[in-house]
Amino acid sequence: MTEIFGIPTQAFMGQLLIGLINGSFYALLSLGLAVIFGLLNIINFTHGAQYMMGAFVAWFLLNKTGMGYWWALLVAPIAVGIVGVIIERTMLKQLYKLDHLYGLLLTFGLALIIQGLFRNEYGSSGLPYSIPSQLAGGQNLGFMFLPNYRAWVIVFSLVVCFSTWFVIEKTKLGSYLRAATENPELVRAFGINVPRMITLTYGFGVGLAALAGVMAAPIYSVNPLMGENLIIVVFAVVVIGGMGSIMGSIVTGFGLGVIEGLTKVFYPEASNTVIFIVMAIVLAIRPAGLFGTQK
């Protein structure tokens, strides 16, 4: 058994693994977008830039203060989340009464500013970030070699995704959140501070993006442009899944990562575009998305 569908097992499993890794990032990012969209009704175009900032915070921590990967996992989401909270308080807040499209335009402008500033400072070649020593090396599974760090990324992002799902769907806090998504005025009438909830939700969604950025730093290099094209793919993922359900974002994210990985094996020319093609097909058959409900 050295071949699967005429492809060497090694290559097949290798691409499947890369697909799962990419899928982890798609899931984490689309989850953040969905949570933000649920409550704020805006699509956060800055998400890719905030993912990139997460990676940069990790790099700063390592190179300026000597704090390693594990600290970065904790500090980066909080730091970038705070920046997000400031953005929400000072700018996004003013747009809630207006057409939702203005939120998209504002966050697009912010993404241009942030990415431009980082590019001015660090160029576009990327900075190295090494894998933490505890996760160096890998396991030989017989049919393939599994680097420890990649296994960790998949497992940890699954844990984060399902914790988020659990908090939102199964806890009291989550029920407030879901209620405020349905009808913010009514929830406010019950004495719950909805504006603060909105702010914290935005901070949380942004924090998820930053967390994904830290996890991505050792795999891809830390690059000012790392979020730029990724965010467009994640938008397609969101359209495919529909933003209605948390679980939908997770499943679609991982699923599309795998599809993309397998396309690299069987028809590499289409690996850049396969997700967009899937989006076109889904739109033709089920416009509301796989897990969405059409209003």
Binding site: F37, I42, I43, M91, Q94, L95, L98, D99, H100, L101, Y102, L104, L105, L106, F108, G109, L110, A111, L112, I113, I114, Q115, G116, L117, R119, N120, N229, I232, V233, F235, A236, V238, V239, E269, N272, T273, F276, I277, M279, A280, L283, A284, P287
Partner: protein, 318 residues
Amino acid sequence: MSAVLPAVKSGEVGAQRITFVVMLAFFILGPLVMYPVFLMKVMCFALFAAAFNLLIGFVGLLSFGHAMFLGTAGYVCAHAAKVWGFTPELAILAGAAAAGALGLLTGLLAIRRQGIYFAMITLALAQMIFFFCLQAPFTGGEDGIQAVPRGKLLGILDLSNIWNMYATVLVIFVAGFLVIYRTVHSPFGQVLKAIRENEARAISLGYNTTRYKLVAFVLSATLSGVAGATNALVFQLAALNSVHWSMSGEVVLMNLVGGLGTIFGPVVGAFVVLAMENYLATLGFWVTIVQGAIFVLCVLAFRRGIVGELGRLIRKPL
């Protein structure tokens, strides 16, 4: 979007006619004080921005992927002129037809969703076209199609002469602009505005809004294609930057600066944005930062745009 033209009042048409004459005079006399190549670029992008505005301003659809029409038409026009030896007018028509066909395909998919989804879908489809142009054999990848011959218009007028080219671009721009102007003021345009204001009500009045939106989308794509094809001839180049998402962002910016849903806003916006880029060109990535800052500023404090504010000042929509 909420940048809305007030109801038709007497004097509206008069004010718009005067503005039109001013605009025409500007582009005819402009080369006396400005570089003609720069002004040709402005006219191409003004047409592009006006075509984009037809959707956002009058149907309420924000396309975040309009670069795909500009870029595709540019590639097809350049290929037709260089490889197939088409005359310039046929090359431009070929480019526009390609953009229109692409508009039909993508429009059929995109108009199935509204608002934010529409923006995300058009962006994703445009990214697909970008990767296609990056990999397809005839586009020349990173190099693009260079040294496109301008040729002789109708076999007579030699476009390598800059003034012939300038006159041609001016005629194309004015014709495209008038098509949009007529569309907006036609019964068809009124239905589009009704869809923008309240789609459910338009449906209940018996309009097939999906078809109206699709026709508007294809029209906008085709006119963007005319702009893209003309631009390719002016610069004798079709390159990847014209299909990149940042180009789609730029046309949004032009409209935002000039005024969404105004007739002349896109033209003013195109001029301002391109002038700024020219001015900042030596500063590298600062262009992006400044563009981002203008986005933020316009959304937060200047949502009517330049022409929108002017129109409010004279109490007539421009």
